[in-house]
């Protein structure tokens, strides 16, 4: 008996009993599988994790780490925004041009494959759904090559340059105001939490 088989046998059989829960799961699968929500999920999780990892990269100096973090933020924001718009538009366009009915040639079935008659009617909705996702993903990839250069790049540069400028401003401000050397712990705590020292002048 192979190891994978043994490990597989360790997993208990699970059956989903609740009908409503099953409906919700199926709906979630349907939504997550669409190109736009899929990109949105990836972008949302990326913005939470990647900038943090870049900023806390100990292998490079602080300035480079911050610049890399700013570029990552710019890249994620621009990539997600442009990606979502492009994918959604293409998905909608392909959906509207892939009607199941191909008895008459119309604009709404112009991209419907003509070999759907070879498939069993019960399987057709699922196969067509997969076809739509596949076609829109392929078209989106081709279109994204152009939009990467036309929109992503300038937008990424703008966002990261703006963030870099803000960082530089902060750095200059910090350099201009010399740090107070504390001899008293009490004063340090009061200053940290912006509490007035209560000194009479």
């Amino acid at each position: 008996m192979s190891i994978s088989r043994k490990l597989f046998d360790l997993i208990p059989n699970i059956s989903i009993k609740n009908k409503n829960r099953l409906k919700i799961l199926n709906k979630a699968g349907d939504i997550m599988g669409r190109p736009m929500p899929n990109r949105l999920i990836m972008g949302a999780t990326a913005i939470v994790s990647q900038p943090y990892i870049d900023e806390h990269n100990r292998r490079v100096d602080k300035d480079t780490a911050r610049t890399a973090r700013n570029r990552t933020i710019g890249k994620i924001v621009a990539g997600t925004a442009v990606g979502c718009v492009v994918r959604e538009l293409i998905f909608k366009l392909i959906n509207s041009c892939t009607n199941e009915d191909i008895s008459v040639d119309r604009w709404n079935n112009v991209l419907t494959p003509r070999n759907t008659t070879t498939v069993r009617p019960s399987m057709l909705p699922n196969r067509l759904r997969n076809y739509r996702t596949a076609l829109s993903t392929i078209v989106a990839m081709v279109v994204m090559v152009g939009t990467n250069i036309a929109f992503d790049l300038p937008l990424t540069n703008k966002i990261s340059n703006a963030l870099n400028a803000r960082d530089a401003k902060k750095r200059n401000k910090n350099a201009a105001t010399p740090k107070e050397v504390y001899t008293d712990v009490k004063n340090k705590i009061l200053d940290t939490f912006n509490i007035s020292r209560g000194e009479k002048t």
Binding site: L22, N26, V60, R114, D152
Partner: protein, 217 residues
């Protein structure tokens, strides 16, 4: 409205090859997307005058590392996870109760959850809504595995690895740049400055014991 025969041929080809399982097309389009995006970003960094040479020497390898690590981690994490999810549904380890009862009606309940059980290959798969229930749930499991795997690989593993690779590359470039700068300051041509590396004397010590030992047979 009718499109050219080439377009019809293409749509027929996509339907025939990818409508049953869109896994392969998603893999290749994802990889293509990463490569295209990274190529564009590298151009952007290269042409951005606001970055110093040192920052560019980190960020360009970071972009290259990003694309290559994304591809590698996709194959190492996302794909196996997706395969596992497919296997769990295909064999009936995780399926809706509705499906269990339908399979049980045909007397195959004892096979559910066994390693070799394959629900789509059952002779009665197309009957009694089994296919519809199965496909919807299979779609959920497969998509969830792809999303979870994608988040772990692209958003957690890849950034760590690409930073490691990029910082190594940056150190190498930094050393090169320092070397060129030093030689420019000293007005010494770069080629002359490199002295020939002296040959290390051969260390024979590990073999010395053989010289003195008297071999007795």
């Amino acid at each position: 409205m009718k499109l050219t025969p080439q377009v019809t041929k293409t749509t027929d080809f996509i339907f025939r090859h990818f409508s049953e399982d869109i896994g392969s097309v998603l893999i290749w389009t994802t990889i293509g997307g990463w490569i295209a995006s990274s190529a564009a970003q590298i151009c952007g960094i290269w042409r951005n005058p606001n970055y110093t040479k040192e920052q560019k020497s980190f960020m360009i390898p970071q972009e290259i590392g990003d694309a290559s690590m994304n591809i590698l981690s996709f194959f190492a994490i996302t794909m196996p996870l997706k395969k596992l999810a497919n296997k769990l549904v295909k064999t009936g380890k995780i399926i809706p109760l509705k499906l269990v009862s339908k399979i049980a009606r045909h007397g195959d309940s004892h096979k559910i959850g066994t390693y070799d059980f394959d629900i789509p290959k059952l002779p009665y798969f197309q009957s009694g809504n089994i296919a519809k229930t199965y496909n919807s749930f299979h779609n959920f499991m497969s998509t969830t595995a792809a999303v979870v795997g994608g988040v772990v690989s692209s958003n957690i593993v890849t950034p760590h690895l690409r930073n490691r690779i990029a910082s190594k590359r940056q150190n190498q470039t930094k050393l090169k740049l320092d070397f060129i700068e030093n030689s420019m300051q000293n007005n010494v041509p770069i080629q002359q400055q490199t002295e020939p590396v002296p040959l290390r004397p051969i260390d024979n010590s590990p073999f010395d014991k053989f010289k003195t030992r008297v071999m007795s047979i």
